[in-house]
Symmetry: C2
Subunit: 381 residues, 2 copies
Amino acid sequence: MTSPERLARAYLLRVAEPPAPALLTFVAEHGPVGAAEAVRRGEVPEAVLQETSARREIDLAERDLAGAREAGARLVIPEDDEWPAWPLLSLDVATGRGAEGVAAPLALWVRGAARLDEAADEAVAIVGARAASEYGQHVSSELGYALAEHGVAVFSGAAYGIDGAAHRGAVIAGGVTVAVLGCALDAGYPAGHVGLYDRIARRGAVVSEYPPGTPPARHRFLVRNRLIAGLTAGTVVVEAGARSGARNTAATAGALGKVVMAVPGPIGSAMSVGCHRLIRDAHATLVASAADVLETVGRLGTGDAPQPRSPRRRTDGLGPQALRVHEALGERRGKSPEGIAAESGVPLPRVRALLPALELDGLSERCETGWRRARTPPPRS
Amino acid sequence: MTSPERLARAYLLRVAEPPAPALLTFVAEHGPVGAAEAVRRGEVPEAVLQETSARREIDLAERDLAGAREAGARLVIPEDDEWPAWPLLSLDVATGRGAEGVAAPLALWVRGAARLDEAADEAVAIVGARAASEYGQHVSSELGYALAEHGVAVFSGAAYGIDGAAHRGAVIAGGVTVAVLGCALDAGYPAGHVGLYDRIARRGAVVSEYPPGTPPARHRFLVRNRLIAGLTAGTVVVEAGARSGARNTAATAGALGKVVMAVPGPIGSAMSVGCHRLIRDAHATLVASAADVLETVGRLGTGDAPQPRSPRRRTDGLGPQALRVHEALGERRGKSPEGIAAESGVPLPRVRALLPALELDGLSERCETGWRRARTPPPRS
């Protein structure tokens, strides 16, 4: 038995092209069933009419839900436990602030094994250009792999290039990845990724707010981007040209108060121009590794992402005068303290005091002709 | 006739290993001639004695000055018009703040056609790793070339790798470049750059605070770095490993209140790790072009460095509803306004109003079966 709420939301998803902020508010006030009734009759405020009049007579809710079931998909609605209410709150808040075009979805069509709320609990978006370079695709799939391996769900837009590589990396790691589409689940777009959707659905999910049969369109990709930004803690742009939908996702993420990150690349690469501008002009955080991403979204300190440490030199702890004395020492021939003082410019009494101190550190040694650098440095603990 | 001030400073430059903040203050109080006399006699405060006792009996001032003359070099002292007093003020200010190891130089040995004060007037430092990648060397020489071509003097440390490439780029552009050494002008170091020094000196300058015969040493490179940072408006790090002297120059530049910039690179390159950390952790400004560098140090707006503009789409000015209507239009077959309304989700009356508006923009056209996208877009003014 399909609940009336689910039927009502399936109907409304087909009637109103998202985002539909006026309808969303109307549903919040009257509940989905009452709101759907009013929309059907056309007895709604002008703003809601604007969003619903064109398609309000089309009611395919029963058929859409049955078709989804057949295709192994489901309609996740805010009344379900699975609804990712917490991350999507950012969209409500942004709408309240008057940000245009970022209303929350009325419901989401979902296919896949993952629970949407659990996937969104620790999630990062990896997005970027379709016309990605080999470098970008490599970086994207490595990032997807490493983040998935650390238990982070990788969200992306399922496009060719950076998006696909990120999904693939996460799939190979056996992790959770979620594809959010700008068309219906059954649109078969892009054609080359239909097989990938099946692999994603095994542990992750394919998600869309568009009813069955909806074809892709540029404005739908832009609208979809708010979901990718909203459902995750932060967005990583791997490659983006001077104009790129990925930069739109990044801008939306920023507007929603999420973390915006970008991967740098060679400055001669047109595909890194967008990333460099994001870092330079929009203060996106530069990320050069999965560890950087985890640190930026605040997962560090859990012990599972050690930061690489700078290599240390044996002379690192020395003060400026000790360093100068050490530099003045010969590799083979010993030198007198007087000679070392003249060469280093360090006063003779200080040289006399520093030489034995360096010896204790294993950095200098006495020989017949005076002092020289130690030959066999002891292992450092 | 050599002035007593020049003789005194030549003597002090050999006596005190820079930086010598106590001696610098002592010279400011007593003048170079009086200060040199007191140092010779050892009648100076304890802090000055620390900096001068080891070598105060060595007086080769006459010989050093004569040797420099023969080699086509000169000693530039604060009493000269050529002294770059204004940029070096940053070192005095930093010393006053208690920053260690950044005292101004007592004088500078200079070889080359450029006046030091004029070169430092509009100057940028380009520094980086010796073990630079091909990418890094290419970027460095291109940056050096472009900045020199814009009348900016390119300062660097004359090392192999990034430094040498920056000098070379500026030389090829016929511009001014200044090499600041961590050894004497006559040390012949690094051996492979002796010929480059001659080319630099033709229009630029080779500079050192070390008296003739001083060999290179690691601590001298670190000390020299403060001059590169101090003499320029900003420092660009092109490539740097996890540990790199270039990062030291950048840190010093930051401490002196100068602009710190870094060039990104492929994240897999060990030679870009230092740059990425500078941008990520130390808030260095990402620069991906000479135009970025000029903008960052504040030369933009002079009209000689136009920023590349984003390409524009013909649909850029459209609102969300117009965009949706435009997307719903077919390329060949015309559609009815009713069909377009259903497909786009835009209310029919709005569709009827938007279609002629799109026609005026050259984006839609009427045909026998309804409306479709315009086939021959008119040129956009």
